[in-house]
Amino acid sequence: MATDQGRTANVNGLALMAELTRRSIPETGATRFRPPYAPIAIGALAGHHRGKDFRPTRLPPSHQWAEARGAVFVETGMWLRAQWYPLPGEKDWLPIVDREVKQVREAVGVCDVSTLGKIDVQGTDAGAFLDRLYCNTFSTLAVGKARYGLMLREDGMVMDDGTTSRLAQDRFFMTTTTANAAKVMQHMEFCHQVLWPEMDVQMVSVSEQWAQFSIAGPRSRDVLQRVVDMPDAIANDVMPYLGVKDLTVLGGIKARLFRISFSGEMAYELSLPARFGDAAIRALMEAGRDFGIIPYGTEALGVMRVEKGHVAGNELNGQTTAGDLGLGRMMSSKKDYIGRVMAGRPGLVDPGRPRFAGFKPVNKADRLRAGAHFIAQGAEAAAKNDQGFMTSVAHSPMLGHWIGLGLLSRATERMGEVIRACDPLRGGEVLVEVCDPVFYDPKGERLHG
């Protein structure tokens, strides 16, 4: 039919067919055509979806505030998030991010983490349902407590992680990574509708209902005590690490506070109705002024998680098992769960598989690059000698050099070994030492404040 959809090109064919059957075109009848048969601009088909509107943009509750403050933004899926917050005169991203990390670790910082997937899970079987979904146990979690959860796919590979809290005997508040929010929700609905329809469990996305802010650093509680209506309710002894509390903030706004940490510092996540997200970031900044509070972006968040050796999207890449990531101990042996059987396949428990580890440059001035492949010293830098790759890197302002996380064959038996991180794509190689993935505060003492 070609570009005119048969409107004109077919006329010659119709005339020939009419002649062959000794009739006229009106007698044989014409074929149908459909629009567009006249040239139209592609823009007319694209309509509104041009330029920045090619796809929708999703904005977290503090966006307008961050914009006015001069934040630099990054697209994560459809979300636009603050990547870092330059101060007047600051140009280079690295010193800005270094400053943000140091300020959080030495004082306090606030980050909008509203983009995390949030799922309200209710029902008499809610705990039992989560036990089947996650490889670790949730039915034993006490009301008012949060727990880190890891879920596998049916094939035994890691699917997603996040912190899930128990709000009541029959109610949980689940969080997922920003990237996998929709996928996890779909997975849960499939599990309920197809695999276990007999379970009394109800789930609904509340991702957009709640503005959520991470307040992290040794002065985080001091800041929060000026924002919550009853400061004593969040004292260290009544709300220890992994505690969860319903409370009110800013004069009567119903909110939830979670004492959880991605940065490794004493930290909280404050969740409140999204309409108050803008008011909350302004109030937190004002309340924190005496304590040196700064806003920090996704880059500083990423640096701190690398310093702490936490896995994230680069490691949860669909090809890693819980064991690969050093999280094998989370796989319960007392219950069944999605992925349990397939995670036991010989190829997935092979001790030679690449394992999660830390990597530091032998020459402290060397810059590390994510994507570099690990090759033994003296071996040819070729695919046959490939032993794994660097998944994430960061410049650590706390250590004063670059650090990396990666997956290396038999890494746990190779601590202290020096290997090459080869980057043929961008050129160059760096000698790195295999080390524990937790670079900063390995005993985790800072969490407890």
């Binding site: 309509g47 509104h48 979806h49 509107d53 796809r55 929708p56 943009t57 999703r58 904005l59 977290p60 509750p61 307008q64 459809m78 979300w79 309200d120 209710q122 029902g123 008499t124 079987d125 109610r171 007999e198 379970m199 009394d200 469990v201 109800q202 789930m203 609904v204 996305s205 509340v206 991702s207 957009e208 209902q209 709640w210 503005a211 000026r226 924002v227 903030v249 800013l250 004069g251 009567g252 706004i253 119903k254 109705p273 999204a274 309409r275 108050f276 997200g277 803008d278 008011a279 909350a280 302004r282 109030a283 004002e286 309340a287």
Partner: protein, 200 residues
């Protein structure tokens, strides 16, 4: 400390008044609806009938079993999937209040979760409302198949929406996820410009 001010997702984005084509009567009017409380209601296992009876006792209406919206005293109940509803109230109330009230009505029969802040609700009305929506909605809104009282969960301009029709003007109301509200508004306002658009 700063006064805790509620802020709409569309704050500062638009200016009320006449937009687009200036001649003749406006083809559509657009408005953001404030003071809307929302909550999702999901029946517990095997309790859909009892939940519906509870709704009848408290509000005088059954929970709709097809994609319809029913109105009762102080509450509207919109079908949102099998065994799922979106409850809506136009009464002014504090954040979280609708969940508290409905949890009492449906105790043990349905799970309730506050959604007032999770959605932005918009209204589009007027003789050209259908033409504007046709630019982004894949579903047919012709009165033959979509009438006052009908609701649908669909997409518009690549954004998930729940839409319902309230009268034959025609007037439609749409709930979109808050984070997408600014993108969605731009689509609506731009699509309405050629017909002349009055923003309330």
């Amino acid at each position: 400390m700063a006064e805790a001010a509620a802020r709409s997702a569309l704050d500062g984005l638009y200016r009320p008044g006449r937009h687009g084509k200036a001649e003749a009567a406006a083809g559509v009017t657009l408005a953001e609806l404030g003071n809307i409380a929302l909550a999702s209601v999901i029946a517990r296992k095997g309790k859909a009938t009892l939940a519906s009876e509870a709704a009848r006792r408290s509000f005088g209406v059954d929970l709709p079993e097809t994609p319809r919206r029913v109105q009762a005293k102080g509450i509207e109940l919109l079908w949102a999937g099998p065994g799922q509803w979106l409850a809506l109230s136009r009464e002014s109330m504090p954040a979280g209040e609708l969940e508290t009230r409905l949890s009492a009505v449906f105790a043990g029969l349905a799970s309730v979760a506050e959604q007032s802040d999770g959605r932005t609700v918009l209204r589009i009305a007027g003789p050209k409302a259908r033409d504007v929506l046709a630019k982004g909605l894949p579903i047919d809104l012709h009165p033959r198949v979509f009438r006052p009282g009908d609701t649908a969960l669909t997409v518009a301009a690549l954004i998930g929406v729940q839409i319902w029709q309230t009268d034959e003007a025609p007037t439609y109301e749409l709930a979109v996820f808050r984070g997408f509200a600014r993108s969605f508004w731009k689509f609506l306002a731009e699509s309405a410009a050629e017909y002349g658009c009055e923003i309330a």
